[in-house]
Symmetry: C2
Subunit: 316 residues, 2 copies
């Protein structure tokens, strides 16, 4: 049986932390780049000194762990602040087996430069894209560097993920497929996360939407919300339905997530409410042809270099 | 000297957990309603059995705690999954003094019904508010139930928080004050969080904004971003500048936060990018007088009952 403290043949403590790649104070997560210590320190004549990515994330509380922590007589509290009815403390469970102390550890070893980049914290910047910028800079860039959409076509044609599809409208103009996102278990309503992918392949993102796409949007909304209600018991007003701009891939799709969930992808500056998009097109069919769009990009996004430096955020 | 394990005169373990009020898996936070155990169990003839709110939140990693955790020979890993270069484990620090195990404990004791409600998890619902709904339902409700804005006027007049203000434009038409939000330490740029409050008191929210408020918005943007750059070293394109609709209080204010930060208040359905609002007013000075607005409300918000039940989300 494998020693549970070993990462392949290497003990976690054999790795020396080189650098913090990313630290998220909200999520209580830290990712570090680490390197195996030299052989001489280990009395071990094994592998080369290769890099690893080690991700530590504090685990969520359960009711059980909260009860165990508060009721344990040995829980140690250190007072930080006391004021009237309010108290603030640092607490430490001294119970060795305490589930409240569990930490999720993810290791990637050996890790390539790409793994390290993926886990590295990248600053974000707000970018301004006028309609002219889109035509002259963004659209040519997208068409030049379009990621393969083979997987999208495989889903639409039924060659892949057919068993995952929960609503399938075959209409070539207004049709779409709806399927749970891979990160959702398809069960827990509170983490509900589905994606609808339209069948027509000539709309890359909301930038390409015009008034004549409204029937597609109406059809998609009605059938998707009806399916989600029947299959998962969530009403339309319990959902956040939105597009991303910029999207991850350039084939029009809509995210349906449970309203209580929020993350970097639901933030203003990336997420556009489905209903706002519909209303904008109702008001002006060429809204997205004319609009200046503001969105956030990672520093390592080539589009930032193309759009970012030559533009001030101000539109006045 | 006070015993650090005591909450007022009561040991934390004297409290029995009655109910989970809120559990946030993203933030690794749990809030419970607790009640002091009965006297007979305690050999203590003190206080009545009153409710408490106890909030537990896992603390963020520091580089120091991550290094200590990974390099400790006694850290126990349990394998959850192993596949090629990827490993997933549960880790437990067996070091009693481990800073990686520290938990932030907040207590409110005795807690009133309002404290318990404030910490209770409430489902959210997406609400549709037409321009007519605003005139007939929302605005009368706001005016009837307006929270006291005394604290706003105290800030604007310099009677309160004068030392906190970092930019003060006295102009009665286009002036404002800019100050760090109370939850921000005013130092760490990555958590930057400031609020600009306009001087004129006749604009309750973005709903009341018209074309003739554009000079106010231009002035506020220019001076706030210049101040934030000089004082905190953050450029305008590192910021998320936004309004809330609905806002927490009905006197126009703008949030400036660091772009990397996101939370329930930055999500589409509540946050409106400053630049989008400016552009909407430039395109149509009566945009917010006519627009149907979509936003999220907690189930216990009286406005939800007024607006919610009689409206379908659809606008088609």
């Amino acid at each position: 049986m494998q020693d549970p403290t070993r990462v392949d043949d290497v003990v976690l403590s054999d790795f020396e932390v080189l650098k913090v790649l990313r630290s998220d104070e909200n999520l209580k997560l830290i990712a570090v780049q680490a390197r195996r210590r030299r052989k001489s320190e280990l009395n071990d004549d094994a592998v080369d000194s290769q890099d690893a990515v080690v991700v530590l994330e504090k685990k969520p509380f359960t009711e059980e762990s909260a009860v165990a922590f508060t009721s344990d007589l040995n829980t140690q509290l250190t007072t930080i602040m006391r004021n009237d009815i309010y108290g603030l403390f640092d607490g430490i469970s001294t119970d060795k087996a305490s589930i409240v102390n569990a930490i999720k550890v993810t290791t990637i070893y050996p890790a390539t430069v790409d793994h390290i980049r993926k886990w590295s914290d990248q600053p974000f910047f707000m970018v301004r894209e006028t309609a002219q910028d889109y035509k002259q800079i963004t659209e040519p860039y997208i068409l030049r560097n379009k990621l393969s959409l083979e997987w999208v076509y495989a889903v639409l044609s039924g060659k892949a993920e057919a068993e995952r599809i929960v609503c399938n409208d075959q209409d070539t103009e207004n049709g779409f497929v709806l399927a749970p996102s891979l990160r959702w278990d398809g069960v827990n309503k509170e983490q509900l996360d589905l994606t609808a992918i339209v069948r027509r392949s000539d709309v890359k993102s909301i930038r390409d939407l015009r008034a004549d796409h409204l029937p597609l949007l109406y059809n998609l909304w009605k059938k998707c919300t009806a399916t989600i209600k029947t299959k998962y018991g969530a009403e339309a007003n319990e959902l956040r339905a939105y597009f991303h701009y910029q999207p991850t891939y350039y084939h029009l799709h809509v995210h349906f997530t449970y309203l209580k969930e929020w993350n970097a992808g639901t933030a203003a500056g990336r997420a556009h409410l489905f209903m706002d998009v519909v209303q904008n097109l109702q008001t002006d069919g060429n809204y997205y042809a004319k609009r200046t769009m503001y969105f956030t990009l990672r520093r390592d996004d080539p589009l930032l270099t193309l759009l970012g430096d030559s533009h001030q955020l101000e539109c006045f």
